[in-house]
């Protein structure tokens, strides 16, 4: 049976078209994906992302335990700071990509992908031996609402949160007399916040945010626009761009791998080998040179030889062209500016390798 978030009725009342996403009945769009996309780039959007997982890890060994699980160096986190990282297997394949928050000494919050919560928990339990640590799945207790866009932070400030957390920080706050967590994170490339709230308050908070946000042009935004927004920002989607056969280095995530970390971690030997000797496949950004749309699973060619595969692709409402992420053989002569081809319905279409992100991110200026 498909699961429903605590905001399911709200989506139906707003006339959303619902689709199955990772076993959840979620809104894909309320009006139009393109309109919703523009709303987030121009004003502010409200997202229900309550399907995402929340896992608390605490205990004497919480820090060394997490440091064994991810290539990032969790010891560098100060209180309330968050970091993007990956849960890697023994071969450095990505089990999930996560945001880990240090809530306090020896207590961490992990935000996980809905589709991967079970795998994440299994893996954590399998790695737990010898660590004095407790792992609690809080996913069923919490809703997650994202407010994203150039006016998102302004809106939250008018609601009495005078000082918002800085980029990639979380803080305890009160909105409409509800105690909740606000973090300066998101999945759109825009400035904004994600609000973690206990389920029983999520409907009230949703209504209040839409009401208070009206003067800022806030609109509810479905998963369709969430996908086009994250693609423009070149943010990976687990299951499309990341999987257990892909390492963080191949995925272009070397920036999220600590180079001088003391502890060993799962897959470290593979990551170090790849950093030293290079990788066989690499993630690239593409723009189509005609109007054809590259999509997940389409083959990529160079000189009539298959060299890779599209993992995410679609339109860019802001650029006005069609963009994609692809894994290709790591050939020296294929770099930014090179033209390659995408096979679309038995025809090759030219595409140019371009720099990522496809649309400049606007969240880091708030650092």
């Amino acid at each position: 049976m498909t699961k429903q978030t605590f905001l399911h009725d709200k989506h139906l009342k707003l006339g959303a078209r619902m689709v199955d996403f990772a076993g959840w009945d979620m809104p894909v769009q309320y009006t139009s994906i393109i309109e919703e996309h523009r709303t987030v780039r121009e004003n502010a959007g409200l997202f229900d992302v309550s399907h995402m997982g929340e896992i608390i890890v605490y205990g004497e060994d919480a820090l060394p335990f997490l440091n064994k699980l991810v290539p990032q160096d969790i010891s560098r986190l100060i209180d309330k700071k968050a970091v993007y990282c990956q849960l890697t297997n023994k071969n450095a394949g990505i089990i999930d990509d996560l945001i880990i928050y240090k809530l306090e000494e020896k207590k961490y919050l992990i935000i996980a992908n809905a589709s991967r919560i079970d795998e994440d928990l299994n893996w954590m339990v399998r790695n737990k031996r010898g660590f004095d640590v407790t792992i609690v799945n809080e996913s069923h207790n919490y809703s997650l609402l994202a407010v994203q866009g150039p006016k998102a932070c302004e809106l939250i400030k008018t609601l009495g949160v005078e000082e918002l957390p800085k980029f990639f920080f979380i803080k305890r706050a009160e909105l409409f007399d509800i105690n909740l967590w606000i973090s300066r994170t998101g999945y759109t490339g825009e400035d904004g916040v994600e609000i973690l709230v206990r389920n029983e308050f999520s409907e009230y908070l949703w209504d209040k945010l839409l009401e208070a946000g009206r003067e800022f042009g806030i609109k509810p935004i479905g998963l369709g626009a969430r996908d086009t927004l994250r693609l423009e920002a070149s943010l990976h989607l687990y299951g499309n761009d990341l999987d257990e056969n892909t390492t963080p280095i191949e995925a272009g995530l070397a920036w999220s791998v600590a180079k001088d970390k003391q502890e060993d971690y799962n897959g470290r030997h593979v990551i170090e080998e790849q950093l030293k000797n290079g990788i066989k496949k690499k993630l690239i950004g593409l723009k189509m040179l005609d109007r054809a749309i590259a999509r997940h699973g389409y083959d990529v060619y160079f000189n009539n030889e298959k060299i890779g595969i599209i993992t995410s692709g679609g339109i860019s409402p802001i650029r006005g062209d069609n963009i994609a992420l692809a894994y290709i053989k790591n050939l020296d002569n294929l770099t930014v500016g090179s033209t390659i081809q995408v096979m679309i319905r038995d025809k090759l279409h030219d595409a140019e390798i371009i720099k990522r992100p496809f649309v400049a991110k606007r969240n880091k200026e708030s650092k």
Partner: protein, 124 residues
Amino acid sequence: MNESMLCTKTHEYVLEQDGKYEIGITDYAIEQLGDIVFIELPETGAEFAKNEAFATIESVKAASEIYMPISGKVVEVNEEVVNSPELLNDETYENKWLIKIESSADQVEFADLLDYSDYKEEIE
């Protein structure tokens, strides 16, 4: 929608006009697709069998093949919607047909098409 349209269960329609047939997708199909961003149509002169894919329509989310309600030869394509696919989502725009064909389809080919009122029941 025009009451004399005949529709397929896969949401294409065919409408006879001056001895030719206009083919397109139903309003319901357009609504289900959402924002239409790309339309690929065949060249004039191309011939297709009934139920053969003759066009591709892409929304933001996915690519969908469009099938021939009846067999025939393409005599005209709607370049306007190819150049501006979003016109299909525009409620004020009327020329939402995709291709016009000449057809010598017999009654057998028409047998499984739904008249508009039956189609409306089908989608409700």
